[in-house]
Symmetry: C2
Subunit: 446 residues, 2 copies
């Protein structure tokens, strides 16, 4: 393995701000008020940057999540406000911020994202989503439209945003004190886009950033999602429970890019990962058991459904019986069922089966740092992904643990860079230069 | 004069970021790239806070300003991004940010502004404007609607935003680690507003700030503007060239508040002020002459029009002749004409007449700090305003000069506080507590 071989790209998920586990806010040492506390997010961003993580990923919701009632915090208070604050406390790490194409006007998001790209010196990325949550739509007096409409608008919005980003010529900002010429307006051009869903005249009054303009990410696949990934995305935020599934998703994104005239290598596929780290497997499980002490019993019936067994909350502290294990059938409705059964067969109590993260949103390697590194290496070398977006269980110490214990192993194995190779997110991703629309994929919007 | 007597409230205008003079970006010591440089804005915010200025005022435009072509920079790159960065570098000063009701969805601005209010610990205010610029409308594929429509929407948007701000009960955020209750959703209520122009279901997932919710400002008067000022505003950003005009504007805002069932003292009227400070009048004029060295000749014909005289750029360095002074008639189309004539009669060259700021957007007291303080005292004691929004000519040194030289005189005279009296913008303004809609002025939107 040489240093010129392909290396993985890593994102760190800030999630709710507390971490990816529902009870992260209740973990020891965590300030339960961190939801509104930028200082906490600054600590997490700095920890990730210390580990030369390529980008922070911030999800977003445009509605209160019903899980708040069950004690599970909302995503970040506001990703733009958060990133604007984090920008000044970091200098190399990128920021990938989720924002909807459905309930934003292109001029407004083009402006805020470009402002963030310029003030972060080219470290900004936009994860463009279409939003399928009816509660979000209701906050805008709307209902969720069918995919053809949502994605029709998404294409127009992304194209308008990219056109606006490119409306200020690369050399337009003369700011020449002697001549008194602040801007050469001959190099600043309106975009004059008018589609079926949106219109914007432009120009945007913002010069290029060190990376030209923000990079685009997308999340989710499917026929429609792939039209976004294929045309615009430099990164795809993925979710897969098996190497096979991840490979299929990655291949689909790469094929979509090819279909739109791009080089498939321009689209990096990121697999989700929720590592549970301890110096031993038992210590890792103890960490998670402690976190879920109260909530674990409530999840037992769902685990039962995954295994085709009628399990009750009271049974949480016993292993499955031989008879139950013989009867168990992994359910087809949940892709995590097979792994749940494998863990159950190892003889763990139900609480420990749950502590293995078998009903987490992403795969959960459990144990010492090398287990996590092995897992990542296997996926990466199998072509399942170009890197990972890592969701620590509890941000307060989970980012440090990943950075201090997993990252060095990945580096030792030549799988991850020793240091940032560039200063912009585009460089971190190896994404080609782009300013304004990509002529290879641009088609007149209606 | 005792310390319990009424004191003025002061705002500092960040303007383009460079200062209020078109050539501020070309002044000595100014980095011409400050437009995209948050560090420069941080310095200015800290300087203003050192002077215990009550708030920073950030204007906004939703289009590129044509004056960019003449070397005059745009307003701030993005006020939300800027304030999010400044928030962490200051602890007491408030932020009043201009945002349009016409091209924003209430949920989006309610969220970002409340996020800023929470993360600044209650120091945020929204200057709600309706935007009359056709270029802004074109950036949203629209044209500027008539006032009844723009202001009809403005009322709905402001009410929806205030309702969303109040949707999370004051005690709702339990964040109790022991019980695992993060939020008491019984205290979080949808707002379910549906008007003629906008609708929003809510709730907003953000707890109250230290001041409950942001305060509202408005800018501009007129029949329609006063309906905004009267119902919602804690502060009015004014523009007046004479004490009489300012008193009339202030009285109109106070009467409007009274009409909507509020105490007139709840609406503070801020007069605009563009001080030109030097240790002598001559030194102050020299500062301005230097700043406008190249551009002054271009303004001569306009000065001529104000005085009813055919003046040419080449004449910039001579005073008006006796014959011209005898012929001069202040023009009725520009309220600044009378003062321009008064200055001309003092025998200054045309360049020095212009250097007196006679065609600036706000009155320009010229000379040593006590001249500025005298001016402010006279207006304040005449009931022309409750305070000022001060526009330094060049932010880089103008804020320091005002803070170090004018503020101490105002304090000595008991006209301005010795230190911040509270921690929130609401406290700085003496605005009453408000959370959610004001029941005194709330009427069902349609
Ligand atoms: C891994 C992953 C992360 C996502 N993150 C977000 C998010 O933070 N906010 C959001 O509104 N949607 C998010 N989405 C939702 C997708 O953008 C998309 O709306 C969703 O998958 C529904 O698909 P559809 O729009 O094709 O119906 C995410 C999807 C995936 C797969
Ligand atoms: C002192 C002052 C400052 C203003 N600042 C802004 C601003 O920063 N951005 C903006 O869009 N409008 C601003 N306005 C414009 C007003 O909100 C209003 O749109 C304008 O006066 C036109 O009036 P109309 O909307 O009643 O036609 C300002 C007005 C005044 C008087």
């Amino acid at each position: 393995m040489t240093t010129t071989s392909r290396q993985m790209i890593l994102g760190m998920h800030l999630g709710t701000g507390y971490g990816s586990q529902a009870n992260a806010w209740r973990a020891p040492g965590v300030d339960p008020a961190a939801y509104t506390d930028i200082e906490a997010q600054v600590r997490y961003a700095r920890a990730a940057e210390r580990g030369t993580i390529d980008f922070l990923f911030l999800p977003d919701n445009l509605a209160i999540t019903p899980s708040m009632g069950e004690g599970i915090p909302q995503a970040t208070i506001d990703p733009v406000v958060t990133v604007a604050a984090l920008a000044r406390e970091t200098s190399r790490i990128g920021f990938v911020v989720t924002g909807t194409t459905t309930f934003n006007e292109p001029y407004n998001i083009a402006r805020q994202y470009k402002a963030l790209d310029v003030t972060t010196h080219g470290r900004f990325g936009w994860n463009a989503v279409t939003t399928a949550d009816p509660a979000a739509a209701a906050n805008f007096g709307q209902t969720i439209a069918e995919r053809p409409v949502r994605y029709g608008r998404a294409h127009e919005v992304i194209q308008a945003v990219q056109a606006l980003w490119g409306s200020w010529g690369e050399e337009a900002w003369t700011r020449d004190k002697d001549s008194g010429r602040f801007v050469d307006l001959d190099q600043v051009r309106p975009v004059g886009l008018r589609g079926e869903y949106i219109a914007s005249q432009g120009p945007l009054p913002i010069p290029p950033s060190e990376q030209g303009q923000p990079v685009i990410f997308s999340a989710g696949g499917g026929e429609y999602g792939l039209t976004i990934a294929g045309r615009y995305a430099s990164g795809v935020i993925g979710a897969a429970f098996t190497i096979e599934d991840a490979r299929a998703q990655r291949r689909a994104a790469r094929q979509a890019a090819h279909r739109y005239g791009r080089n498939p290598d321009e689209v990096k596929f990121f697999a989700g990962l929720m590592p549970l780290i301890g110096s031993t497997v038992e210590e890792a499980l103890a960490r998670r058991r402690h976190l879920d002490e109260v909530s674990a019993p409530r999840r037992v019936p769902y685990l039962g459904a995954m295994l085709g067994l009628p399990l009750e909350p009271e049974q949480v502290d016993r292993p499955l019986t031989d008879a139950e294990l013989a009867d168990a059938r992994p359910s087809g409705f949940d892709p995590r069922s097979q792994r749940a059964l494998e863990v159950a067969r190892q003889g763990w109590t139900i609480r420990d089966i749950l502590a293995h993260g078998v009903i987490d949103y992403h795969p959960t390697p459990v144990g010492p740092p090398c287990v996590v590194a092995d897992y990542m290496q296997e996926w990466f070398e199998a072509g399942a992904c170009d890197g990972f977006w890592v969701s620590p269980d509890v941000n307060e110490d989970g980012i440090d643990t990943f950075v201090d214990e997993v990252v060095p192993i990945l580096r030792e194995r030549g799988l991850f860079h020793e240091d940032y190779q560039g200063t912009t997110l585009r460089e971190h991703l190896g994404a080609p230069a782009q300013y304004g629309l990509d002529p290879r994929v641009w088609q007149e919007a209606s």
